[in-house]
């Protein structure tokens, strides 16, 4: 009964999505407040029924209801309760139910929190979100129903959740990503509404910015969690693989970053209006493309969901309808948004333009690298397969990021319209200072100078210095917006240092050790003290103890999950501000030896720390007074148009 109820709830969600879309669009079109209000009310209904549906699927997991196919495939009685809950979004069907729930939550937030904007805009935004919600739910119900029954042959035991997914990082990683993805669906709706009304002004931009920021924040956190999870769970210390699925999340992130910057110019100067709208559309287009790539099996990846051609076809259709439709609308309507804004020399507008150009180029190169194998396969035929790996992405991406860093360091001292040359030259002096530090540091620390790393570190230090100085100079008139920007840029600089240093200075050794033997890595001896059997509800394995330094110990494990016959390596990590020690234990070898790999990864944490700092900066900027002040004033104008 419970699965049927869940299925029915989801169906009610679909119905309310139809209502939200119709009342929203026609309410806006006919300028009828009562219809838009109806749409607002329906968003509450929708979020209620989808929450219920989601809770019922969780119930099915907790009850071990293996008559539900999805539960049987992704759960097991031996699973701890929290993994049963997270198993709900461990595979395609349930994760997509979560996706639709997230859409409903965003929609209800936009419906209730954004009452100060004009009625027309509000109606169009809700209408667009209703259409998106409808498509997602239709896809869920007609091709990926998580409540599908498995009768009459009900298994007594489920297949277990994929062991690599049995992990805290994996519990929170997908929801964060989805919140981010769908958040860009909201900004997409803003873009569509702007095109539909033909009006985009600084009020529109001011109104859109907090939403973009929060979507971006969640996407950032989602990507960081994914990277962190891969780092400790996949067992070999990599933190970014340029894997198609990672690229699928990274491309919207880059486009979203460009959008944040372009919106700043649109809000403050009324500049780049066309471009901003295009970015709102492109970001979500990339989100949908990512969903298609991940869930259709077009590209292979460690993370990809199971392949089902029918699903892929439906997703491709959604992609073409939503993204293609929006771009057609753009082609016909965007000329109404034309603007003339003047700026000269190294103005802030120019820097933002450079930022956007570089970010879009970055998206383009990643897109090219991700899809190139498909194109090649088609041109040359199925015979010669090829893949685009790390070297290509690094070769393309590193120079782009260095150029970006350069523009970014001048950002805080730049002015709208025109920046006096004096200020630019001042900033360049600090670059010299930073370069000296970046060259001296590795020389003093005696590891030898690596020019690329010094270059990146110099730029990073320069960014920090210019932002600190700019904040100090403006100390009496600091807005949260400016602080947010500075913190975000400093976060970026921190991450740059982390990436550069870790990539080049990581030291890794592997060996076979007997008990009592030790291995020296980067000046530290790691002694294998003991190996003990370990076991839990659903796995057995060995747990090793390594001692190092004065009183450091690490306990890496090798586990064997019996139900899926699956081995995992639970790396042991000693995290630190300046270095991570990372031990992977490979288990028994011949002659009483044990396989081990030990890595010394300097500045590893800085990557994620920097990204999280940047994410939180988006939150700081969002709290800026001007976003709240506006609500009172605009409330009066809501019905006046």
């Amino acid at each position: 009964m419970i699965p049927e109820l869940g299925h029915f709830s989801a169906f009610l969600g679909l119905m309310s999505a139809v209502g939200i879309a119709l009342f929203g669009f026609f309410g806006a079109n006919q300028n009828r407040a009562s219809w838009v209000d109806m749409s607002i009310r329906l968003t509450k209904v929708q979020v209620a029924v989808l929450t219920l549906s989601f809770l019922l699927l969780i119930t099915a997991f907790l009850d071990d209801d293996f008559s539900v196919l999805y539960v049987a495939n992704n759960s097991n009685t031996a699973l701890p309760w929290y993994y049963k809950v997270s198993g709900v979004w461990g595979a395609h069907e349930g994760s997509f139910l979560l996706w639709t729930l997230v859409t409903a939550v965003w929609t209800v937030l936009v419906a209730t929190r954004a009452r100060h904007i004009s009625l027309k805009l509000h109606g169009y935004v809700l209408g667009t979100l209703g259409v998106l919600s409808f498509m997602f739910l239709a896809f869920l119900l007609f091709s990926s129903n998580p409540f599908e029954r498995l009768v009459p042959n009900v298994p007594i035991q489920g297949a277990d959740l994929n062991p690599v997914l049995q992990d805290i990082g994996q519990i929170i990683h997908p929801p964060m990503l989805y919140i981010g993805y769908v958040g860009f669906g909201v900004t997409f709706a803003f873009g569509i509404a702007a095109l539909a009304t033909g009006k985009i002004d600084s009020a529109w931009a001011r109104w859109a910015r907090p939403w973009v920021n929060i979507a971006w924040l969640f996407l950032t956190i989602g990507i960081v969690l994914g990277s962190w999870w891969a780092y400790y769970e996949l067992g070999w210390g990599g933190w970014w693989f340029w894997d198609p699925v990672e690229n699928a999340s990274f491309m919207p992130w880059l486009a979203g970053t460009a959008l944040i910057h372009s919106l700043a110019a649109t809000e403050k100067r009324g500049a780049f209006k066309n471009w901003t709208i295009l970015l709102t559309l492109l970001t979500f287009t990339l989100v949908l493309m990512g969903a298609f790539l991940v869930r259709s099996g077009v590209l292979s990846s460690v993370h990809a969901f199971a392949v089902d051609p029918q699903r892929g076809l439906i997703l491709l259709t959604i992609f073409v309808l939503v993204a293609g439709g929006s771009l057609v609308l753009y082609a016909f309507r965007a000329h109404t948004l034309n603007t003339q804004v003047q700026y000269w020399g190294v103005s802030r507008e120019l820097l933002l333009l450079i930022n956007n150009a570089l970010l879009v180029i970055a998206v383009f190169t990643i897109l090219l690298g991700t899809l190139y194998p498909l194109g090649h396969e088609w041109l040359v035929g199925g015979d010669k397969k090829l893949s685009v790996g790390e070297p290509y992405f690094n070769a393309m991406f590193v120079p782009i990021m260095l150029l970006l860093s350069f523009a970014l360091a001048i950002a805080p001292i730049s002015r709208w319209k025109h920046t006096p040359m004096r200020l630019v030259l001042n900033a360049l002096i600090f670059l010299g200072g930073s370069a000296v530090v970046a060259l001296l540091l590795p020389w003093i620390l005696a590891d030898g100078v690596h020019l690329g790393v010094s270059c990146a570190v110099a730029l990073a230090i320069w960014i920090m210095v210019t932002h600190a100085i700019a904040c100090y100079r403006q100390r009496n008139a600091l807005t949260l917006g400016f602080i947010g920007m500075s913190v975000a840029h400093v976060g970026f600089a921190i991450a740059v240092i982390g990436v550069a240093v870790t990539s080049v200075y990581t030291e890794s050794k592997d060996a076979r050790l007997k008990i009592g033997e030790s291995l020296e890595v980067s000046g530290t001896d790691y002694e294998l003290v003991s190996v003990q059997p370990t076991e839990s509800q659903n796995f057995i394995g060995e747990r090793a103890r390594f001692d190092f330094g004065v009183q450091g110990s690490l306990f890496p494990e090798r586990r064997f999950y019996s139900i899926r016959e699956h081995i995992t390596y639970e790396a042991a990590i000693a995290p630190g501000i300046f270095k991570d020690r990372y031990i992977t234990f490979a288990g028994p070898m011949e002659n009483d030896t044990w396989g081990v790999e030990i890595q010394d990864k300097p500045f590893q944490r800085w990557i994620w720390f920097g990204a999280v700092v940047a994410g939180l900066a988006a939150l700081i900027a969002m709290l800026d007074k001007r976003y709240r002040r506006l609500s009172q004033r605009d409330l009066e104008t809501r019905y006046s148009e």
Partner: protein, 183 residues
């Protein structure tokens, strides 16, 4: 007027780019779909093998399959996807549509027997392939996988992954019907 036209053209560029993108995604999608039905031993004789029947522990060889149309189905008790096609197999077996031979792939005999006992047995015979050797000869990627074998022992159709009703109705059954008519 000319300037406006230029602006318009510029605004259409994203759409054009999108068109190209969709084209390549569509291509990739078609290629991917094509790959779902590879043909390891298609139109080749079913490989020689010699093993035991899980159900009665009697010896079983390739010759035992010859003489009638067979659906050879690779399965295992650890294979979760196999559950999805089980209903269809049971239905085919009970209606007498075709004789189904199971290949029990890299499995424990006890687990396999329990599995069949709990879910029902659609198989006339079950070839034990504990080491996966037969499946290597067959070019099996993993369970489940299904082969349609004609009375001469030639593999005529193949499904990698779950044998869905659609695949059965659209690919296996039509072929089977034309063959039966010819004979």
């Amino acid at each position: 007027m000319q300037k406006r036209l230029k602006t318009r053209l510029l605004l259409v560029t994203p759409l054009v780019g999108f068109g190209i993108l969709v084209f390549f995604l569509g291509i990739g999608f078609r290629l991917g779909k094509h790959n779902v039905h590879p043909s390891a031993v298609l139109n080749d004789p079913f490989p020689e093998f010699s093993s035991v029947n899980l159900l009665d522990d009697e010896r079983i060889r390739r010759e035992d399959l010859i003489g009638t149309f067979r659906l050879v189905n690779v399965w295992a008790s650890w294979c979760t996807a196999c559950v999805e096609e089980h209903d269809l197999l049971l239905e085919l077996a009970r209606s007498g549509t075709i004789s189904i031979i199971g290949i029990n792939y890299r499995d424990q005999a006890e687990d396999a027997k329990t599995w069949l006992y709990e879910r029902g047995n659609p198989y006339e015979k079950v070839v034990v392939d504990a080491q996966g050797e037969i499946c290597v000869d067959l070019g099996v990627y993993g369970a489940p996988e299904s082969f349609l074998v004609d009375p001469e022992g030639i593999v005529r159709a193949k499904q990698v992954g779950v044998l869905t009703r659609t695949v059965w109705l659209e690919e296996f059954e039509p072929w089977l019907e034309t063959q039966v008519e010819q004979n």
